[in-house]
Symmetry: C2
Subunit: 308 residues, 2 copies
Amino acid sequence: MGSGAEFDAIRRLLATWGAAAVGIGDDAAIVDIPAGERLVVSTDATVENVHFRRGWLTAEEIGARAAAAALSDLAAMAATPRGLLVALGLPEEWLGQLDDFARGVGAVAVAAACPIIGGNISASRELTLTLTVLGSAAHPLRRAGAQPGDIIFVTGRLGGAGAAVKALYDGRAPDPAHRVRFASPMPRIREALWLAARGAHAAIDVSDGLLADAAHLARASGVSIALDATALPRVGGVSVDEAAASGEEYELIIAAPREMASLADEFSRTFDLELTAIGTVAAASGEAVTMAGMRGDAHVGHDHLASH
Amino acid sequence: MGSGAEFDAIRRLLATWGAAAVGIGDDAAIVDIPAGERLVVSTDATVENVHFRRGWLTAEEIGARAAAAALSDLAAMAATPRGLLVALGLPEEWLGQLDDFARGVGAVAVAAACPIIGGNISASRELTLTLTVLGSAAHPLRRAGAQPGDIIFVTGRLGGAGAAVKALYDGRAPDPAHRVRFASPMPRIREALWLAARGAHAAIDVSDGLLADAAHLARASGVSIALDATALPRVGGVSVDEAAASGEEYELIIAAPREMASLADEFSRTFDLELTAIGTVAAASGEAVTMAGMRGDAHVGHDHLASH
């Protein structure tokens, strides 16, 4: 892509984003972080044939999903979104769908009230979206805050994303209820802010799978987590094992004081989303995470496609 | 790359970076921006076969060059570096050189006093480094600040990067003095802070080529720039036309009040780098940039390899 084509592509992106894109035109974007708040920043890549295959998702879904995955890291920190930067590696055969990518990214950014503040576009052999998200919080929620006696909660219902990828990988059409969980995840930003404001101690988003991510949280906090397989909220048609291993769900795992269990109903009414107590936190002993009631090996993680 | 290989790769990166990497372990990094300063952020991608070809650069040079290109955007804004995020798309055949990439990125980050605060690693078919840089400044330098009556300065000597790429593209060994300008550019961060503190009005870094980038600055400022081809500081062995079109130089174009010309000697002594007056700013009229004394078409830009 020469600089002419590059500028044309940038113009197309900006036209699609309209008022969702702000302050673009300098070598770097300028963002004001409210006084008393800390900057929270993360970068996340979506690569064709690693995170999805051609034909599994529309270009708009690819854009939306990449934005959701990146913004989910701000949700995990209970940070208010302040800006999104989009670095696009674009093969020539995808150029015609640039507006669709932009629409997908833009829709999720607008839903999260996150301005698009910059980016980069480059030719490449495979489609790559590397999104950087900036947020701010007076007290970012960390992985390391879980305390013995806490309850472990999870938002939403797990298993749909993994079931959809398995079906697609096997060449079957996924159940529509599973597919939407893979193709159109939503970052749980408002939910995280709500829970942090009410005293949540620690959080992580479900990107590698419930068991793997709960283990990250347990290790960072120096605690052990005991999950109850029978309590696990699952989408229809998936087993407990599948729900516990399903990655790229972008739901939140929260460690919170026991008294927050009484807020689950209010949470569900407010966000039209379940908040389910699925385990407890104890002082560290042996395994970081155990899961009673599960068949098979509890140590299941999520692998990207390339390892299949 | 499965999550196991991914975590192994992250461990290798962190081992190579040592104290240069800080605060890694949460879903997002936390950065404190000094009170009274604004956040400045940019993302920049380096893609194999677009920005370089295999065999042209060592893995360490690829890492160093990507970091320099990204940090150069902070220099253009006269921002103090606060953090670097490294998103790596890594083909399997490059996996053995992961430590070399990391060493290259780390060396430039340390030289710029910029902590490495996060990143992402993913399998991919072609090598991609997408770097996001965060900085801060009380008064970021913009493209839009040039005023009629200002002098246009450029740091260093131009043309080496373009001459090296041309030689490599033609299958010749580049002149070593040209090659170093392509393989090992340095972001002019301290130089930019020094010039901004002394009253520079506007800046942009030379990534597309002097003429193209001067035009970006002129258009953003609503002015016209008249460059003097005979004043252009060139590396040995390149023509004025080549120097004016050479991209990815990562030198700075500065618009500054006339009286700053007297600081050029002090600048050169302080940074062991030339600061050369190469033109003047006038009210907008016709072309954004003109260049007296140049042969041929003055409207030369820099194209990435894919357009050759």
